[in-house]
Amino acid sequence: MSDAPAPRRNWARVLAPLLVGLLALGAWEAAIRHFAVPAYVLPGPVAIAQTLAADGGSLVASLLVTLRTTVLALLLAVATGVALAVLFSQSRWVEMTFLPYAVMLQVTPVVAIAPLIIIWVNDVQAALLICAWLVAFFPIVSNTTIGLNSTDRNLLDLYRLLGASRWQTLVQLRLPAALPFFLAGLRISGGLALIGAIVAEFVAGTGGASSGLAYRILEAGYQLQIPRMFAALALISLSGAAIFLALSLVSHLLLRRWHESALRAER
């Protein structure tokens, strides 16, 4: 029943990584200045920050395009991944038949199949979405399937004894039991969806107003605007971290009352 947070521990959790980050950035800046490295080889953090401040607007607009693809792909991955996992858990035969194909989709590099998808699918946005979805959906299928199959045997017996229907057993027992597994998969998939979206954008190399952040990186590379390239990279990294944090928060909120992984060190 203890909902009270442990403030001191939380402070340390934020401060310690922040301090390390600041120290690393300081060392980087100092090294750049000391060795007089030109900005077109490796810009320092200050130069990157200046670029971000000066023309961050166009970068952020592109970032939003990429994030839209990422979020849509992740939602699609959740829907298809959970549906497929439920299907797998209902029948060993279905799992045996389809799991190898799910694995094959996962191990095929997106970079290799993205060009094909972009050729086959006329709409570029849809093609990008498919690429990002392809990388994001496997951890969700795989984790949720494990979760659904590792439901407590005794609880399954109890449900059977109480005459529960297949639907009741799925919704009231197997899905909640699989939730921690699903959420662990979701956190991995969140980052993968972003990577998938960016890789696909690189391959597509599309121009125009509605293009994503990857294209800005390519563009800056061609024009040797290396600080701008780094600024775009920083935005991607920060977004990835933000996605991970957001999904971790979701996970914590859903599990904090009952699951071991969300327990605070309170005893």
């Binding site: 029943m1 005794n154 009231q172 909640p176």
Partner: protein, 253 residues
């Protein structure tokens, strides 16, 4: 303790269970359980006592022989597992209310009945707590409350207190007896503790292992009221001795 006159609640005749891997878990078991009686199935591990319980519950079919319900068909069952087997994402109240929920009992009524049942096992305050916030003994109480919330005629218990410390175990033994005195359900209690079986039951069925079979059927002439005084009485010690001798022979057999 005569179980001959009224028809038994459940009658096992020539029940044999062979698992797919060839293990003969139970062989030719005949057993009749009288209505309202408290029975213990006692035996060393591997004697198939849990298998017998699972066959009575209908969780596993016997390979041969019959499990029959001579009275009006299969009565309502309650089952208590060795582990509390609670859903960690549900509060104690919702765990207790589960059988009612699965039977589509409306929410106000199932909450009322679950609350009453929690009160009966002394856990009124814990209604809103999640299983991980409860001690091992409290979790087991929730599990027993869940098994009894439907007011079953037959309660099956599969070594429910085996994992608890002795003090908690004694207390839960007393609680279980009190519930049995109040409700008079028929109980089949699987255990490997001589002391527990003697303390709780009017009849101890001793089983031998490999293959699991009935070795001795002991009716216990014990006082109606069992409490701490009984636990330390010479009568209790004598009964334990009788059962212990039977178990020893069963293990040598």
């Amino acid at each position: 303790m005569s179980d001959a006159a009224p028809p038994p609640v459940v009658a096992l005749a020539g029940v044999t269970k062979r698992y797919n891997n060839g293990t003969l878990a139970v062989q030719g078991l005949d057993l009749r359980i009288a209505r309202g009686s408290f029975n213990s199935l006692l035996g060393p591990s591997g004697c198939g006592k849990s298998t017998v319980l699972r066959m009575i519950a209908g969780l596993e079919p016997p390979t041969s022989g019959t499990v029959a319900w001579p009275e009006a068909g299969r009565p309502s069952l309650g089952f208590v597992f060795q582990d509390p087997t609670l859903m960690p994402w549900r509060t104690a109240l919702d765990n207790v209310a589960l059988p009612l929920r699965l039977a589509h009992v409306p929410k106000p009524e199932r909450h009322r009945r679950a609350h009453a049942m929690l009160a009966l096992v002394g856990l009124s305050e814990a209604a809103g707590s999640y299983p991980r916030e409860l001690s091992g003994g409290m979790r087991m109480r929730v599990s027993i409350a869940r098994a009894l919330v439907t007011e079953p005629e037959l309660l099956l218990l599969d070594e429910p207190f085996a994992a608890l410390d002795e003090i908690t175990r004694f207390r839960l033994n007393n609680d279980l007896l009190r519930l049995w005195e109040a409700r008079r359900f028929t109980a089949i209690f699987v255990t490997h503790s001589i002391f527990e079986s003697v303390y709780l039951s009017g009849r101890v069925v001793v089983m031998a292992a490999r293959p699991g079979r009935l070795h001795a059927d002991i009716a216990l002439d014990a006082p109606a009221r069992r409490d701490e005084a009984f636990r330390t009485s010479p009568a209790y010690a004598a009964l334990c001795r009788t059962v212990s001798d039977a178990l020893e022979k069963a293990m040598a057999a």
